[in-house]
Amino acid sequence: MRLALEAGFWLLALASYWLLPDQLPLLSQIAIGALFVLSLDLLVGYAGVLTLGHAAFFGLGAYAAGILAQQGWGEPLSGLLLAAVLSALLGLLTAPLVLRGGDLPALMVTLGLSLMLGEAANKLPGLTGGADGLLGVEIWPIFGLFRFDLYGHTAFFYSLAVLFLLFLLARLITAAPFGLALRGIRGNARRMPALGTPVRARLVAVYALAAAYAGVAGALLAQTTQFVSLDVLSFQRSAEGLLMLVLGGLGALYGAMIGAAAFTFAHHVLSEMSPLFWQFWIGLALVALALAGRGGLLGLGAAALRRWRA
């Protein structure tokens, strides 16, 4: 039953290529957003670490892959790898500052660090293109075979494939003892040392892992759009990531991806009517979700399923 649902989910994701052939860039964007939210889910949903600055890693990955390609090495997979490594390093470096205990320091330090990085990118136009964005990003064909085309065919399959592989890895990790220990830390961080768990070391590990995931998501955006702008590092992106996560349901990998899809579709539809309209409704949705409590769309679905069976 569960496996059938999972297979159905991925078949539908694949089938969207034929169902919405005119919306391929949007679909790629959903896959990239889903990867970003997956990363947040590992950190916030499983390990219970709060962040207001996850865009820092997304942006670092985007600029790393973008600048690499702009400087003449357009091979896409090595770009992803570079983004993952750099973001993980930044994660390892900043984790001790973020994980000093308590939600408030974590919230403020992550926010401060991401703003620092955003402002640094803004003030270094020689490297990042500043407010004009990074131009001249040229990506070579994947495996030397599949060229990135104007309509986004290659970009779609590329993004979806990367998402699928990293999802499999996340699924493995969360089902393994390491994942159970993370859930333990989120459930009761005081008990864990009394079970012999070095809590700090586990959190540093998952922080770096989540950073790498976010970095890859950013790199995917840079490669598929062949452009990087300052908003990859914006507070808006960090906040929207949290919203997608809560919309889908915390601590459930499929919830994260469904949240990203629902959010991005809604964004597409509503902001076409009016950007203001979108901002207003997204705010209202946030307030309502916060007041209503957790579970998200996945939780609502599960509840409906239980009622239907009963």
Partner: protein, 251 residues
């Protein structure tokens, strides 16, 4: 013989307040030792100093001869010094089976493992079920959410998490606190069933339990050791009656 758990001049200050003052204890292997004292005597602070949740202002803690004063909590657990909590510290979103499995995986040093599902660790899962079964958890209770369990069951799970770690030294912080009389038997049985070579330090309020269980008693008052001896001697000690037993019968 080398003490299983010992302290030398253990002291902890909070600002100007001395919560634990110059406490020296020695527990032989297999000891059944109790620490009693009125509220505010420093019992909980003492437990936190022993487990490493707090750092002492002065003094040392030795575990089987090794100085562990500088070691953090989790490193002491790895050396088989295990505690339970006065107020349950459980995992509301995990089932008892998952929680005990987590403790077992941690004991075996497997929680860095990310490439193999928990479900594939058959021996560990079987041990978790066997442990819960020995504490008379029904299969349905094992899989229920922890927050849906009755308080008495939760109290038992608190102890199960400690037992899963196969302690050599076990600190029980008021294990019967808040358990209705009808259900406290299960808690007592679990404690009595511990292998004889496990060293147990019981922090308790309930005098009944203390005198039934302990072979040696230390009385704390205002952070310092007031008296130490066999239960009969403690029961006769005039000073102890005054600060503690007397107070208990009046109050």
């Amino acid at each position: 013989m080398m003490a299983a758990l010992a302290t030398e001049g253990l002291t902890r200050d909070f600002g100007g307040f001395r919560a634990v003052a110059d406490v020296t204890l020695a527990l032989a292997q297999g000891a059944r030792h109790a620490v009693i004292g009125p509220n505010g005597a420093g019992k909980t602070t003492l437990v936190n100093l022993l487990t490493g949740a707090l750092r002492p202002s002065a003094g040392r803690v030795r575990l089987g001869g090794e100085d562990v004063t500088a070691l953090p909590q989790h490193a002491r657990v790895k050396r088989s010094l295990v505690r339970t909590f006065q107020i349950n510290q459980l995992f509301p979103d995990l089932s008892p089976e998952e929680a005990v499995t987590l403790a077992l995986l941690e004991r075996e040093g497997l929680t860095t493992r990310w490439w193999r599902p928990v479900a594939a660790h058959g021996a560990v899962l079987a041990e978790a079920r066997a442990l819960l079964d020995s504490l008379r958890f029904t299969p349905a209770e094992m899989r229920a959410g922890t927050r849906s369990l009755a308080y008495g069951r939760q109290r038992l799970l608190e102890i199960a998490l400690a037992l899963a770690l196969k302690p050599r030294v076990l600190l029980l912080d008021e294990p019967a606190a808040g358990v209705p009389p009808g259900e406290s038997r299960a808690v007592l049985e679990a404690v009595a069933a511990l292998p004889r070579d496990v060293t147990v330090l019981l922090i308790e309020h309930d005098m009944d339990l203390v005198f039934r269980f302990a072979e040696r008693i230390t009385v704390l008052a205002q952070g310092a050791v007031l008296a130490e001896g066999a239960p009969e001697a403690i029961a006769r000690d005039a000073r102890v009656r005054e600060v503690y037993l007397g107070e208990a019968t009046h109050g």
